[in-house]
Structure formats: C-alpha cells, structure tokens
C-alpha cells in the first residue's frame, strides 16, 4: 500500500520525465544527419575544425548515441528527474499537514523513506528503459542500426551510478524542505561539481593523466566508455559511488529519525 501512495505522489513527475527524455532523444536523433554532414564538410576543408572524434562521429552511430545521449544530455535529464523523483516523503507532508496521520500508522520512518527511495529508483529505471525504447524507434525511423546490448549496458551503468543522485536528492530535500529551495540547492550542490569535474577530467584525460579525483567524476562513471565490455566498466568508480550512496542513506536515516514533527 505504501508503494501505491508513493506512486500517486510522483505520477505526474514521472510522466513529465518520460516526455522530457523522449524530447531529448528524438531531438538528437533528428540532428544526427545534419551533424554528420557538417562534420564531413569540416573534415574536407582545411580551415575547418579537425577534431579527433569527428571520423568516429561520422562512421560510428553507436558512438554518436553514446556521446550525445549517454554522455551528455540524456544523462543530465535523467539525473534531474531522478532527483525530482527522490523529493518528497514525510518532510513534504509536514507542511501538507498530513504527517501526523502518516506517523500515526504502524509504519516506521525508515520504511516510509525506503519505500519512497525504492519507488524513485523504479521510476528512474522505467525512465531510462523508455529512453531506450525511443532510441530504438527513432533509430529505425532514421534507418540507422545500433547494438541494443550496448545501449542496455549503458542504461544499466547510468542507473547503477545514478543511485548516488537519488540518495543525494532525498537528503537535500530532507535538509531543505519545501519552497523550491531544495530544488535550486540540489542543482547547485550537485550540478557545479558534476560539470566542473567533467571538464577538468576531460582536460586531464587529454593530457593523459588520471588523478584519483576521477573517481568522483560521476558524469564519466555514469557514461563509462562508449563500448562497454566486462573489463572496461569503471568498477572502482562504481564502488566509490555506492559507498557514497550508503553514507548518504545513513545520514538521511539518522536525520529522519531525529526529526520532530
């Protein structure tokens, strides 16, 4: 029954998430032909930009999907909605006035929290699978073929590393409930390091160095290499992500139990 309630509360956000993911996927599939032609033109004329990854982009559709979706925009949209799914819980009910009723039920605060997080995780998985569906249909429409297993592996990696984002979103909401403050604070506290680390690590990789801080670069962990095999999945980074998530969950549980309603 708790799932039923948690699902009702986040139903609208889930639908908005589906729409957003569909828009992003369709948009970049539609752009594919135009971008490839532009890169080809650039490579031809000597003055144009000659980027290392351009030939890959032209010939490898799989790489294109990975670069524009799983390494950039779909990942960011998915993370944003994973955070939004994690918002809510008893704290939100406090200013709704129904928290006394909820706490009156023989349900421990932890069970409330874990139900909310589980529903958020399931919705995030649903969102990412829906994106795969849109890619499949879109790719067929633009007559491009891609390896479904790679895309599914990327989805799995994104979600596996993404649990950190869900836990972080929930903790942030518990600490700064309501009045949209939690939304902009989560975007700042999570967005800034996410972007900064991504550019910094790209620069480092360009120089060929891989400092230890690379493990905190969630953008890269969630994206992983564009061709995932058993050895190339960033296991260490995943481990770091999971331990951090565990810490976050413990903090949320401890804070949640201590709260007065």
């Amino acid at each position: 029954m708790l799932f039923y309630k948690a699902w009702i509360e986040t139903r609208v956000r889930f639908l908005a998430g589906l729409v957003a993911a569909a828009v992003v996927c369709i948009f970049y599939l539609e752009q594919h032909a135009w971008l490839v032609s532009m890169w080809a033109a650039d490579l031809q004329n000597p003055h144009g930009y000659h980027m290392k990854w351009m030939p890959l982009g032209i010939h490898e559709y799989g790489w294109y999907l990975w670069h524009y979706l799983y390494d950039n925009y779909l990942q960011q949209v998915w993370a944003l909605f994973a955070i939004l799914f994690a918002f809510g819980g008893l704290i939100r009910e406090r200013n709704g006035g129904t928290v006394l009723f909820s706490l009156g039920l023989p349900v421990s605060r932890r069970r409330w929290l874990f139900t909310r997080l589980l529903v958020a995780l399931l919705e995030s998985i649903g969102l990412s699978l829906f994106a795969v569906l849109v890619i499949a249909v879109g790719s067929a429409a633009i007559h491009e073929t891609f390896s479904l297993s790679q895309v599914l592996l990327h989805t799995a990696l994104m979600v596996a590393a993404g649990v950190f984002v869900i836990a972080f979103g929930n903790l942030c909401y518990t600490l700064f409930p309501g009045n949209y403050l939690s939304l902009i604070l989560t975007l700042t506290l999570l967005g800034a390091p996410y972007l900064w680390l991504q550019t910094y690590m790209q620069h480092m990789r360009y120089l060929g160095r891989t400092p230890w801080i690379g493990y905190l670069d969630f953008a890269h962990t969630m994206a992983g290499p564009w061709q995932i095999t058993w050895t190339t999945t960033p296991w260490m980074a995943l481990l770091v992500a999971w331990t951090l998530t565990a810490f976050l969950l413990m903090a949320t549980v401890a804070h949640g139990d201590r709260l007065d309603y």
């Binding site: 908005a16 957003a20 752009q31 930009y49 949209v77 709704g96 009045n179 403050l181 902009i184």
Partner: protein
C-alpha cells in the same frame, strides 16, 4: 480582562502603504533562500570562468593558431551568450515560483486572502520582488566579470558588462513572467518547476542547435543583434525593438496570470 475597542482609521492610505510593504517583505522572506543560492551559483560560476580563462585561452590559441580568441569574445560567447545566461534563466525561473496556488496546498491561502489586500496587489508585488531579485543577482554576477578580470591580467570594460547584464535581466522579464504564470496555474509543489525547467531547457538547448535559429528571447538577452562581430562588444546601437517585444510578451503573460488568479476559487 477588559477588551478595549480602538478604531482609529484616520490615515486609511497609510494602512495601504504599510500593508503593501509587509506583502513585499513576505514575498522577499519566501524567496530569500532561493535568491542567495542563485546569487552564489552565478557568482561562483563567474569566478570559475574568469580564473580558468587564461589557461583556456592559451590552450585554445596554441591548438588553433590561425583563429585567435579575444578575451571579450570568450566572455561574450562563453558567459553572456551561453552559460551565465542559462544559469540566470534557471535562477530567475525558480525565484519566480511560489504564490497563492502553492499556498493553497499548504492551507495558508485562506489567511493571505483574508488580509485586506487585493489579489491583484498580492500578485503584482510578488512579481515585482521576484523580478527585482532576478535583476539583482543578474547584474551582480555581470559586474563581477570586469572586477575579476583585473586580477587575471585581462581587462573588460565595466560599462559593457553592465549593459549586457541590464539587457539580460531586462529581456529576462519574460522568463520571470513565465515562472509566475506556471506557478499560478499548477498547484502541485513540483509540477510547475518540472514543467518550467523542461520547457526552458528544451528551448535553450534547441536554440543552440539551429532548429530555432531564428529570432528568440535569448538573442535579445545577449544583445546579439547589436554587437560588433569581431570583438563582440556593444556598438552603441541599442536593440529597442527586441526589448519592446519581450516586454509585450511579459505583459501578456502577467495579464494571463492575473486573470487565472482572479478566477481561481480557494
């Protein structure tokens, strides 16, 4: 315990003045947290952009020697036309949220509506405070650029930064009005932010990738039409036409929101 009834309504207009000041304070009090976090977000981004600019510029120029990148071009394309503008849009939108629809769910709308303040004033004051906050953190971060550039050994004309900031926040009224509009239609705590963020990011990114190449509000905000293509600094001529269009759209949006509030029953 005797209760003494005192009714001195000698200065009715004074009540109006203090009334709207307290509504102002209430609007500020509600969005204060979001204002400061938006300010910090924008300021820290400007600091990051300016401090890493020398390294970036030198790297860029070594790789593409024939296309040297001017500092002013870097500032405009990187900040005013892309990242800073995007963050400002995000901040302005979130600051504009809240309002009577939101209060309805927390059950406090009846109290606010019980006050002797017309719904029109409640909304207009909140709109004005939201826009003032957006202008404040927009200008603050814009002005920060020339100040920090001195430290990094670059120079950026103070007046230019101020003009770009003013143009961004002035045309940005559309974004604030859009935020106000969404937050008054949807009661849910997350429906308006989610809907707003999705549409804004979709337009913002869509505009980048040539589908919406034509005129749109972001060009007006970054004053694309009145800058010198080479140095990307303002060339005096001010893009009045674009600004008036933006104000018109904002007025339409504010009018629509006002109508929604008047019609809504609490």
């Amino acid at each position: 315990m005797e209760i003494v009834l005192t009714t001195n309504s000698s200065h009715p207009h004074r009540f109006f003045a203090t009334g709207s000041i307290s509504i102002c304070w209430k609007a500020w009090r509600e969005s204060r947290g979001r204002f400061f976090s938006a300010l910090v977000l924008l300021a820290s981004f400007v600091v990051y952009a300016v401090i890493t600019s020398p390294g970036f510029l030198s790297r860029y120029n070594t790789r593409f020697p024939d296309k040297t990148l001017l500092y002013s071009v870097y500032v405009w394309t990187g900040l005013f036309h892309y990242a800073l503008q995007g963050l400002w849009v995000l901040g302005a939108f979130i600051v504009a949220l809240g309002g009577l629809a939101r209060e309805k769910t927390t059950g406090v709308a009846l109290f606010t509506l019980g006050l002797p303040v017309a719904r029109r004033n409640l909304f207009l004051i909140r709109a004005w405070v939201a826009w003032a906050e957006a202008v404040a953190f927009g200008l603050a971060s814009a002005v920060l650029i020339p100040v920090l550039s001195a430290f990094v050994g670059e120079s950026y004309p103070f007046f230019q930064a101020l003009a770009f900031g003013a143009s961004m926040t002035a045309a940005g009224l559309v974004v604030v009005a859009f935020g106000l509009f969404l937050s008054e239609i949807f009661e849910g705590e997350f429906t308006s932010p989610v809907a707003g963020l999705c549409t804004l990011t979709a337009i913002f990114l869509g505009y980048r990738a040539h589908t919406l190449r034509g005129w749109n509000v972001f060009d007006v905000m970054s004053a694309t039409t009145s800058i010198d293509p080479k140095t990307q600094l303002l060339t005096g001529g001010f893009h009045w036409f674009g600004l008036t269009i933006c104000f018109l759209i904002s007025v339409v949006l504010l009018g629509a929101t006002h109508a929604v509030i008047q019609a809504r029953d609490f």
